[in-house]
């Protein structure tokens, strides 16, 4: 069984300040973890993924996330927010060892608002 909890439904930050979106996971196996972004009326875009390699994962658009097994966390960060970062962000987990053939479990999403 697997689950993911996004701790904040809504985060607001000022442009140019750091972004932190929090995610905790639960999985019976060594998980694969992802962050996806969904801009209004757009499709889902993969920001980054963790699949048991380096624990600090760098993604697109300056985002990164750190896998912390002891804390079962996979928080998403960005040093400096940009107006174009305003979107819905989903933390996603897939368990098991058959990567690519496993179902994904989505968190409830965090809406990121950027204040000019």
């Amino acid at each position: 069984a697997q689950s993911v909890t996004q701790l904040d439904s809504h985060v607001s930050v000022s442009e140019g300040t750091p972004v932190l979106l929090r995610c905790n996971y639960s999985s019976s196996y060594s998980p694969s973890l992802f962050w996806y972004v969904q801009h209004p009326n757009k499709g889902l875009q993969l920001l980054l993924k963790y699949t048991s390699a380096a624990t600090l994962v760098k993604g697109i658009n300056g985002f990164e996330a750190e896998f912390k097994k002891s804390e079962t966390s996979f928080h998403l960060t960005k040093p400096s927010a940009h107006m174009s970062d305003a979107a819905e962000y989903f933390c996603v987990v897939s368990g098991g060892t058959n990567f690519g053939n496993e179902k994904l479990t989505f968190g409830t999403g965090t809406r990121l608002t950027i204040i000019p």
Binding site: F34, Y36, K42, G43, L44, L46, K49, T51, F90, V92, S94, F99, G100, N101, K103, L104, T105, F106, G107, T108, G109
Partner: protein
């Protein structure tokens, strides 16, 4: 990564009718996944479609309501049958052809009136 063409992008349907959504992938994939995103909510897996066998449905979803076809390794359809306003959602297909990660179609925005 794979490229998915999903059709239609949106539709407005009368209650009691059915809509078939198509997903075409530009590479062969073993599994295709169908998700639903209800208004303002996260994504929920409907079913997993493996070529040559019946789809596997998640709890709360049944084949009579959401029949799926998977005739080959690059194509799948999801039908939303006997629609009601509660079926108004975005429906997405997804694949993972390699280690890149899971790619999603652009979604079908369905409104049932």
């Amino acid at each position: 990564s794979a490229v998915i063409s999903q059709k239609p992008s949106r539709d407005i349907c009368q209650r009691g009718t059915s809509l078939t959504i198509q997903c075409q992938v530009d590479s062969q994939v073993t599994m295709m996944f169908w998700y639903r995103q209800q208004p303002g909510q996260s994504l929920t897996l409907i079913a997993t479609a493996n070529q040559g066998s019946e789809a596997t449905y998640e709890s709360g979803f049944v084949i009579d309501k959401f029949p799926i076809s998977r005739p080959n390794l690059t194509f799948s359809t999801l039908t939303v049958s006997n629609m009601s306003p509660e079926d108004s959602s975005i429906y997405l297909c997804s694949v993972s052809p390699g280690t890149y990660g899971y790619t999603f179609g652009s979604g079908t925005r369905l409104t049932v009136v």
